[in-house]
Symmetry: C2
Subunit: 474 residues, 2 copies
């Protein structure tokens, strides 16, 4: 019997009436390693100048937070307007267990923000309008960000700041210029049910460039992804949603060619799309514990102690809650204070890749984080939090250099995390690496992972970052 | 600029290597109005016999509930094992408002159940193995149900009952015989974040028919959907996920032909798929209030009073919580007690349909219910709870008879709802009905609605029921 669903989610094959496709056009942009519009040499100068600006971020005691306070009843840390986010407690409940799981602090941010990249053709090549943006938790203060990166509190100007630049391009859902418009999850270990709207919008209008913005090709951005702490998390996750369609061609001998081939439509994958969606559905159906928001004080039972300037766990944890004051001259408001989550060390996220049936596959894991809205999503082979352990961590960290095709430290979101550093790796498996894996793992082509990403809320932020970085090995 | 995403979620068009497709095979089954395998005349006799069996369902005081109790702290109603479901409070929180929303009772059921239909070809026509199943809240005691309808508590035998029949066919996710495998939402007004797994699995094996089960074609089931309270909610929602692919052909003059045409791949829709997904993403991004589980006692402030045999709202509401004792001879266990939600009157769910550009479209609304996991989903034009009001309700209820193409009272899920009756309608709009509608509405073809349904968690249970019923007008 071979009557399978024709494709992911059984979408009908529609005729391709556009020539060339969006995927082909972005592929051309990826192949443009530099651009006369704004050459990379100029970028380096410009970006270094942004980083030299007068920013000060300093840790402060909670008592010096302005507008933020611990509620008398339950101790949640929140903003006086009720907006932005709050720090509360979260408890996982599983009917199978005898008692409740310990509660731990979690960021509650019900607002869905918009992460948007504006694109435009110059000389036939799509360019992305990227922003040099300061965030208080950023390593290097300024990182390369999407055109728009705003919560609703931002763009409703809850803090009384200036308007969000270029937002007007992202307010026409369903318009033909909207190339990507999806909700995606974010860091379920630290956020409760957090989602962001990811948009890519094409324009043909004249767009004046503010001094903090420049047009770059995907090829330029791809090279910047190889540098430490330059392209921020928000930019990486939007990039991961952009369709790429390499021309069909033979699989070259090298790893970079294999990556390109794996991104292409000619993929002969190990598992059909229907098999993979069934496997993820099964994982989601099996992970049906429920979570309960509890007061932050309920985390004390598990050792979480509020000191004058931090909430830390006796006995250790992967994070702490702290407070900072940020002073900058080019953000929406000149100075502010806020809480941040500080990770207690670097995280390690890695895909192990190997060729199966002549096609490069990555080993993906179906993995739930406690704050994930829809349960398990597709995660990297290795997703190791600060101070934690993970299967295949040693294989990844001890891989011979010629097998490590990507190894770059990047930052998590600087608006919520303080100097959070992740080592992102793509490692080619040794020949002896087992093809057969436990039930929670599956081998997928990059094309399958990319299409799952474009379903929205199927691939986690850690795997999306690695997907965004994969073309940069090429 | 016309470079749109090629299809829903940008899935690539894969070549159709199967002949005929699943959609064509199910279409053949829909066209089989009767079957020699189990003729409808025999079905009537068999079904009437099942309904005559000795079932007793009686309302009891909460104090007579066995294994169920109100927690001393907070008053939640739950099962001693912690399994099945609980009745708690839910409060909607919106940063824009000054104070919290009133809390109301909600069913919390984190377990993801499986609703599965086993299908098999007889004489070249797919048949569905359907069950005559008793549920305590069912109108008529027994209704036609999927092959498998089981929570994890059921199939882990938390109540010590007998095994779930035919479950073994639904435990191989990703196997080629799995034709549908999706998570779908359920009644966000009454359930917190409830999801069920929907599966359709084909078999070629010999399957012994238990006396409560029979093989029926889609055409037979479709005719039963025109009868009141015969096909249960669980069957309807699985049926809504089955792909149907009518042969291309001219749009006949009559409404039934227009329905068939609208289900087909040749649809020339009013809005592109990309427009519709962008519109829904926008609705979801805008509806970012958060919910908080609170103790059931917290609903007292809004007038919810616990009496000896019911939890009702002073001042009225669309539902109450009651308790029943059920005694039957062919369920997993012979007798049990449980809470149920009693709706205080009939609900009305209706699609208004009209031809646009020569193609039948239905008017869909993006609508959030407070317990919806992912925010707004696609809902019928009219979704009116008991005792409520809704835009276009009058147009639907006062439509001339020749415009009302479907008008059947059906039941909501009898395992959680007590005698819950919904009037489901499909009404053809008068010529004067406005094409331009408010932002929360969109005209869609049935093919678009069906493909959105097969994405999972995009179309709500009310709209899925109407989608499942639509082919029965033909």
């Amino acid at each position: 019997m071979d009557h399978r669903q024709p494709a992911l989610v059984g979408a009908r094959a529609l005729p391709d009436t556009t020539q060339p496709s969006i995927g082909r056009r972005f592929m051309l942009s990826l192949q443009a390693a530099d651009s006369p519009r704004f050459p990379t040499s100029g970028f380096r100068r410009w970006f270094a100048e942004r980083r030299k600006r007068a920013f000060t971020v300093s840790r402060i005691p909670f008592a010096e937070l302005d507008q933020w306070y611990f509620e008398a009843d339950g101790g949640n840390l929140r903003h006086r307007t009720g907006r932005f986010f709050s720090i509360e407690g979260l408890r996982l409940e599983d009917g199978d267990r005898s008692g409740p799981d310990p509660a731990r602090p979690i960021i509650v941010q019900p607002e869905i923000g918009t992460l948007g990249i504006l694109v435009k053709e110059f000389d036939g090549i799509l360019h992305c309008l990227m922003q040099a943006k300061m965030e208080p938790g950023n390593i290097g203060s300024v990182q390369l960000s999407p055109t728009v990166q705003a919560t609703r509190s931002n763009y409703r100007r809850a803090h009384g700041g200036s308007r969000v630049r270029y937002l007007e391009h992202f307010t026409r859902p369903g318009h033909p210029e909207v190339l990507v418009d999806l909700l995606q999850s974010e860091h379920g270990s630290y956020f409760l049910h957090k989602r962001n709207r990811h948009m890519v919008v094409e324009t043909t209008a004249d767009v004046p460039e503010h001094e903090d913005f420049h047009w770059l090709t995907l090829g330029q951005i791809s090279r910047l992804l190889r540098q430490e702490h330059v392209v921020n998390m928000d930019a990486r996750t939007v990039l991961s949603c952009i369709p790429l369609e390499p021309a069909a061609g033979p699989d070259g001998a090298g790893f970079p060619d294999a990556v390109l081939h794996s991104l292409g439509p000619q993929a002969a994958p190990r598992h059909s799309d229907a098999e993979l969606t069934g496997w993820l559905t099964s994982a989601r159906a099996g992970a049906d514990g429920s979570v309960r928001r509890v007061p932050l004080t309920a985390t004390e039972a598990d050792g979480w102690i509020r000191g004058p300037g931090s909430i830390t766990r006796r006995g250790g944890a992967d994070f702490a809650v702290i407070a900072v004051r940020a002073e900058a001259d080019n953000r929406e408001v000149p100075s502010w204070t806020q809480p941040l989550v500080e990770l207690t060390g670097p995280a390690v996220h890695a895909f192990i890749a190997r060729r199966l049936d002549g096609m490069l596959h990555v080993l993906v894991r179906a993995s739930a984080e406690r704050g994930s809205l829809n349960g398990p999503e597709l995660a990297p082979t290795v997703q190791c939090p600060p101070g934690g352990t993970a299967r295949y961590l040693d294989q990844v960290l001890q891989a011979p250099p010629d097998r490590v095709h990507f190894d770059v430290a990047q930052s998590e979101e600087g608006g919520r995390f303080h100097l959070a550093r992740t080592r992102n790796l793509i490692v080619e498996a040794e020949d002896g690496f087992p093809v057969d894996q436990p039930e929670e793992y599956r081998w997928m082509t990059l094309d399958q992972l990319a299409r799952m990403t474009r379903l929205g809320q199927h691939v986690n932020i850690q795997a999306r970052t690695l997907l965004a970085c994969a073309p940069s090995v090429w």
